[in-house]
């Protein structure tokens, strides 16, 4: 889990949604809609980040792999090598 190719996506996504949910709300100008806009930003960031996190964690340590048909494998072997 300490491999670089995992740390990079993790930090990029965390940073991205962290900025949207934690930093951008401070820059919304004061007005009647400020509360609603801030709520929407925070909730969007939380929901989308959680959804992405679940997707990547589910594939981190797979217990079984995909089962490919032989035709597919032959095709890929001959056409892509």
């Amino acid at each position: 889990m300490a491999a670089l190719s995992f740390v990079i996506p993790m930090s990029v996504m965390t940073l991205f949604w962290g900025i949207i949910g934690g930093v951008v709300p401070w820059f919304i100008p004061k007005g009647p809609n400020r509360g609603v806009i801030v709520t929407m930003l925070v909730l969007t960031a939380v929901c989308c980040y959680l959804f992405w996190l679940i997707a990547i964690l589910a594939q981190l340590n797979p217990l079984f792999g995909p089962s490919l048909k032989n035709d597919t494998i032959w095709y890929m072997y001959y056409h892509w090598s």
């Binding site: 009647p32 997707a55 217990l63 995909p66 048909k69």
Partner: protein, 757 residues
């Protein structure tokens, strides 16, 4: 600011104003649209109210106006749509308008009846013109039946000739040209002529006398022609006169309609107020948002100045125990979401409003179930089209389209989130994107034998992550790995992933709902309930379902062999049954004591939730025997029963609601399978054809693919996911904190009345 998170604070205000200025003041308030009049005469029946006659007069005028509008539309006269009516309707106007309308109605009715008589004469003359050589005129479609009956009656002893009347230009003056035939029958004998006459009457055929010699016939024809010319002139004059009257009326039609509507609303409102004994003062009670009191006051002063009365109206705020209506200030973006919350139940006064959170969680849960970025893109574009051309769609005045236009922002957000979840599910019209390179590779599976031997063993090659090199060790960075799209055991992986995802989302959503109830308790200064209800609820949910989520995440993050991996479902069931006998049931070392502790804690929460609050109330009731309980139930049995129901509902609900969130998995599976079927059985069939005809076949097949995608996948699946996401919000989310038994604030507003027409 905070007004959308919670309904606004309302106050009950008494208004006193003079009878002369009543109309102007109520008119101003109607334009403002911020006050709701309370009914001060709730006991009186409708026809006992004071202004019932005036209301009836207004309704009569509305009827005349509708009749006028019909006539104007029938004559294809355009109604000018400018709207400069800011004139305030006063009682004098009522009488004036009434007399005008009556006169107009009489005139129009006379003109119409005259025109109809003239038209009838005209058609008769035209028919005579045609039949100077024949004997009668009958409707075209009745002619075959007529001929058949003549045969049956006279056994062929007659001669029948008929011809169709070809319509000339003059006959276009008639309103609805009917196809007619002329006929002549030659028979012997007078009695038979009588029979034929009766037959013609039965068939509604008009018979005309046919003179026997040619000279008389020619004279009849010239006579008819002159009379036709005269009648044509008269008809033209009548039509012109009618048009001038109607155009003059049409110019004022909009203004009159709005005036009459406003007057009717004002009289209806006056019916709700109290007139005191001296007939000089009107007392009204209104509900009004506290933040708008100043504007109401200004409007009233304005109104009384306009009517020229000397005294300004008195605004007096009073305290009351009655529950005020619930008012949520919405703009055009938030009104859609607020209306879907209100459809289930309008919130209690000043209860927390779920709408601002629903604005994101509802489209998000929809997108989890819809999950296809191609379909999401189509939906977003459709919503953009609706948003940009909103006025054009509203003019069509179709109910279904109106519903779509009202929900345009909801559909827009649903589409946007669907694109995101589609990218994560890696599903675009059932195909996947490979942007970053898959984490799985097949070649290491070929060692040490080489491809031919490995592949001849079976029809499928099952990649094993334990063989080094097959799985790169790093998961696909964004979403589901594209190799699963071509794998034949795709569903084994996706089902496990989506089910666990649904449970995690569900528990998170419900915890959010329980947290909102904490916010409600704090707002209403109900700290007792925080300790008696909120804390046991949260601990119960966290100790059971929070632990379930921990198990899921732990199993995902820890490397283990597939044979020794315990099933989470079995772990959870054994935990509840305290069954630790079978081997291989531990994920981590200290699992058994931790699980026993959590189950015991959860079970202890049930009596806390069930008994603590009623016992506390019982003790208070014994020590202070005043009307402490007057705002709640009357006796202790009710309190115990209510609390028991709440406990059962919450605890059993935790389990059943968590399972209910599995519909997120079920619907996204259905959607993915449907779109794969459309690809495999519709589009791929055409793409496989290698000959030249393939392009034509592809064009036809693509049309079928597009139609099926839109109707089945976008409309049907979209509605289905919309409904299920709505149900998840209404039931599973809102029953953690929302009471929803208030009544909505319905202010007197002329803009709203105009929009409703």
């Amino acid at each position: 600011m905070d007004s959308f998170f919670r309904s606004e604070e309302m106050c009950l205000v008494q208004l006193f104003f003079q009878t002369e200025s009543a109309h102007n003041c109520i008119n101003e308030l109607g334009h403002l649209g911020l006050v709701q009049f309370k009914d001060l005469n709730p006991g009186t029946v409708a026809f006992q109210r004071r202004f019932v006659k005036e209301v009836k007069k207004c309704e009569e005028m509305e009827r005349i106006l509708r009749f006028l509008e019909n006539e104007v539309v029938k004559s294809n006269i355009p109604i000018p749509a400018d709207f400069t009516s800011e004139t305030i309707p006063v009682p004098r106007d009522v009488l004036d308008l009434e007399s005008r309308f009556d006169k107009l109605e009489q005139e129009l009715k006379e003109i119409n009846s005259n025109r109809d008589t003239l038209r009838q004469n005209f058609t008769q003359l035209m028919e005579i013109n045609h039949l100077l050589f024949v004997a009668g005129v009958i409707k075209h479609e009745r002619f075959p039946a007529f001929e058949k009956i003549l045969w049956r009656l006279f056994h062929g002893n007659f001669v029948l000739r008929h011809a169709e009347i070809k319509p000339h230009e003059e006959e276009n003056m008639a309103e609805d040209p009917v196809k007619k035939d002329v006929f002549v029958v030659f028979v012997q004998g007078d009695q038979i002529r009588g029979k034929i006459r009766k037959l013609c009457d039965g068939f509604h055929a008009s018979m005309y006398p046919c003179p026997n010699n040619a000279y008389a016939r020619k004279e009849m024809r010239t006579n008819a022609n002159t009379r036709i010319e005269d009648l044509r002139l008269v008809l033209k004059r009548t039509e012109e006169f009618r048009e001038t009257t109607l155009t003059a009326a049409a110019a004022n039609l909009q203004e009159w309609t709005s005036k009459v509507k406003k007057m009717k609303a004002i009289y209806y409102t006056l019916n709700l107020c109290n007139i005191d004994i001296t007939q000089k003062l009107i007392v009204a009670e209104i509900w009004c948002p506290v933040s708008d009191l100043n504007s109401v006051h200004t409007a009233l002063i304005h109104g009384s100045e306009q009517s020229g009365s000397s005294l300004s109206p008195v605004v007096n705020r009073i305290q009351t125990q009655q529950t005020p209506p619930t008012f949520n200030r919405v703009n055009s973006f938030t009104t859609g979401f607020q209306s879907i919350i209100d459809a289930y139940g309008v919130g209690n006064y000043q209860e927390i409003n779920p709408a601002p959170y629903t604005m994101v969680t509802f489209p998000f849960l929809f997108a989890v179930m819809f999950g296809d970025c191609g379909h999401g893109l189509v939906m977003t574009l459709l919503a953009l089209w609706l948003i940009l051309h909103q006025e054009h769609f509203r003019k069509l005045k179709n109910e279904l389209i109106d519903m779509l236009v009202d929900g345009r922002y909801i559909i827009f957000l649903m589409g946007l989130f669907s694109i995101y979840t589609g990218l994560i599910y890696n599903d675009c019209f059932s195909k996947s994107f490979n942007v970053f390179g898959s984490s799985w590779s097949v070649r290491p599976m070929f060692h040490p034998h080489g491809p031919n031997d490995t592949l001849h063993d079976s029809g499928h090659l099952h990649l094993d992550p334990l063989v080094s090199g097959v799985y790169s060790g790093n998961p696909y960075p964004f979403g589901v790995d594209p190799i699963w799209n071509i794998a034949s055991n795709k569903l084994s992986f996706l089902n496990s992933y989506k089910m666990k995802m649904s449970v995690i989302m569900g528990v998170a959503h419900m915890l959010f709902g329980v947290t909102l109830s904490l916010v409600n308790y704090i707002f209403f200064r109900n700290l007792k309930d925080v300790a008696l209800q909120f804390i046991p609820e949260v601990i119960f949910m966290l100790s059971l379902f929070g632990y379930l989520i921990f198990l899921i995440l732990y199993k995902w993050c820890v490397v283990m062999k597939s044979e020794s991996a315990p099933s989470i479902l079995l772990l959870f069931i054994n935990m509840m049954l305290f069954d630790y006998s079978s081997e291989g049931t531990v994920l981590y070392r200290t699992q058994k004591p931790v699980q026993i502790f959590l189950v015991v804690v959860a079970v202890l929460m049930v009596p806390w939730l069930l008994f603590a609050k009623p016992l506390l109330l019982y003790r208070k009731h014994k020590y202070h025997t005043l009307e402490f309980l007057s705002s709640h139930c009357r006796n202790m049995a009710d309190i115990f029963v209510y609390q028991g129901i709440h406990t059962i509902e919450y605890c059993l609900g935790c389990i059943s609601n968590t399972a209910s969130y599995l519909r997120l998995w079920a619907l996204s599976l259905a959607h993915a399978e449907l779109s794969e079927v459309l690809w495999k059985m519709v589009l791929q069939v055409a793409l496989r054809v290698t000959s030249g005809m393939g392009s034509v076949l592809l064009a036809v097949t693509f049309a079928a693919f597009a139609v099926l995608t839109v109707t089945i996948l976008l409309v049907m699946e979209g509605l289905s996911a919309f409904l299920h996401a709505l149900r998840l919000h209404w039931v599973e989310f809102q029953n953690k904190f929302y009471k929803g038994s208030g009544y909505k604030f319905t202010p007197l507003s002329f803009d709203r009345m105009r929009d409703m027409q």
